[in-house]
């Protein structure tokens, strides 16, 4: 079988690492060899964060090579753009949260922010799925669950059964947030299927 390469991109604090962890755990539970690696800066907040996950029968490199990702999961538009070149132009998908976070430390950032990212990526012939994950999460009561909405959408693309995802979420999400996150996951699944 082929190896599934995934690239999670977000801003520190958005929880891209959490959904990468959940994906790895689900892949392991489903019986796949799995490797994960993250490239992060010195800060927990505000910087660009990329996490690579690869699973399959036998995985060698933990690093995803640009051009080979089966999915790029962008929790934010600019970060989706930053890692869009990782997607496999033939069979890959860019899943992007319809959400903009303006970098704080750049002058006039809101004016020069690439608001046209989605159209730009589509114009390059890439398969882009835009999801209102942040808005959906807010409607479900907590905007921070946008990551899990995207995870739900991603789950429809991967060869991991629904019950494995369910088990993984129940194992890893603290009890008081579980119900909300299960709803967020289902909302994401519905959106993408």
């Amino acid at each position: 079988m082929k190896t599934f390469s995934l690239m999670f991109a977000g801003v520190g604090g958005q929880g891209s690492l959490l959904i990468a962890d959940l994906t790895s755990l689900a892949a392991v539970s489903a019986g796949y060899d799995t490797k994960q690696t993250e490239v992060h800066g010195v800060s927990q907040r505000g910087g660009s964060v990329e996490t690579h996950v690869r699973f399959g029968e036998k995985v060698h490199s933990p690093i995803v090579t640009p051009g080979e990702a089966y999915a790029v999961i962008g929790l934010e538009k600019l970060e989706a753009l930053r890692f869009a070149h990782y997607v496999n132009a033939k069979d890959g998908t860019i899943l992007v949260n319809d959400h903009e976070l303006i970098p704080g430390s750049i002058a006039n950032a809101e004016k020069i922010y690439p608001h046209e990212t989605i159209d730009f990526l589509k114009s390059k012939g890439l398969r882009v799925i835009v999801l209102p994950a942040s808005q959906t999460a807010r409607e479900l009561g907590d905007g921070r669950m946008a990551n899990v909405v995207l995870l739900g959408a991603l789950s429809t693309l991967l060869p991991i059964p629904q019950e494995t995802w369910d088990k993984t979420l129940r194992l890893r999400i603290p009890a008081k947030y579980l119900e909300g996150n299960l709803k967020a996951f289902q909302a994401g699944r519905k959106m993408a299927s």
């Binding site: 993250e38 010195v42 907040r45 933990p62 809101e110």
Partner: protein, 461 residues
Amino acid sequence: MARMAKVPVLEPSDAQECHDFILAGMELSEQFKSPVMLRTTTRLAHHKGLVEVGERKEVEQREFVADARRFSVPIYRLARRPEVEKTLNALTEYAETCSFNRVEHSKNSVGVVTSGIAYQYVKEVMPEAGVLRLGMTFPLPAKMLREFCSKYETVYVIEEGEAFIEEYMRNLGITNLKGKELFGVIGEYSPGRLRKALALGSPPQPFTEGIRLLPRPPMMCVGCGHRTVFAALKQLKVTVSGDIGCYTMGALPPYEAEHTTFCMGASIGVAVGLEQAGHKDTLAIIGDSTFIHAGIPPLIDAVYNKSHLTLVILDNSATGMTGSQPNASSGKNILGEETPKLDLEAFCRATGVGLVEVVDTWQRKEMVRALRRSIAYPGPSVVIARGACQQLPEMKKRNVIPFKVEEELCTQCNACFKVWCPAITRTLGNFPVIAANECTSCTVCAQVCPTDAIKLAEAVA
């Protein structure tokens, strides 16, 4: 380094081997009565993979046997040297047959000698090649390397960092090699990099044509107490020698107020050195955890040598950068048990520092004043900027009343944006807005607002 120290080096290639080689290294150490080094490079250390752990084995407590001829005083060292050489010879023999080094032959004309995480990239990029994977990279197995290379037309040597294995092989007189001239010595390897070096294709580059791919550098956290200190240092225009922690971000825009960073504890030595070299207005900055770890001997030394050192200790009661672990100034240990809390100000005074001031780290004006007094003070002085790390569980659990912008009073002067707080963004009407669920109520933005438009949320209608 291992060659000079004459100790064997093990290099695992994946997570499972990181586990297995530790156990094997312990056994090797006992067998040869030698320390053993385990080498990991960036990606090996920063990745996760499946690991099967074995049964826990209880080992009997063994007594320390005093043996001055083995463990003590230089006069016995020379007598030990022949033993060290004997051990190294035995290890060199061992390297030829040990299970750490593994040959995976192929009928291909291309062979690869590799080690560490690079092995994984080789398996991915050159699945057809014959491979000699070295799991023990010192001492190296000369016979094994010669024999392997004799079976292939071309042998690539693919190792991260310096050409350690490659140079050894060239010194053996092996000539059918290709290595660093293709793969380079700088930075980590990746499958994409190998592919490019071997002319097997170039991976796509980031999209930068026709769109503005803005950078997103890391920022200090919302409510971080370091912010006011670096704003003050920028204003005071002093030369700052820094140390290791989140505060190295003070070297980056917008502050650019940290001018040297080396190793833990270096801030103090560098400041004293700059002073001795005739530089005026130098200042050292160090976190509480790094100070306790490596700043104490240099502080004592600075006082003893009559330096005029100005030292800022960023005391946030945490080892913030690695995940807010407690330290000796936290009052609890890693198990969460109560332990004596190091009294930083009493300690600094005991070293002979003449002026020690403690400042609430979120008070901007007082911070500037305290730093001015400290810099002007003729002897060694310390400013302790105190305020807990926002990532500590007890800080995250607090009930916080956030600040809010009263738009009627706001003149859009942008002063609050220059606090560089990630919680402050702009509305469509160009007013600042503070994310209520992120605000830690640190008060700094309210302090800079000239029209008092930033108020506690409950005070704003």
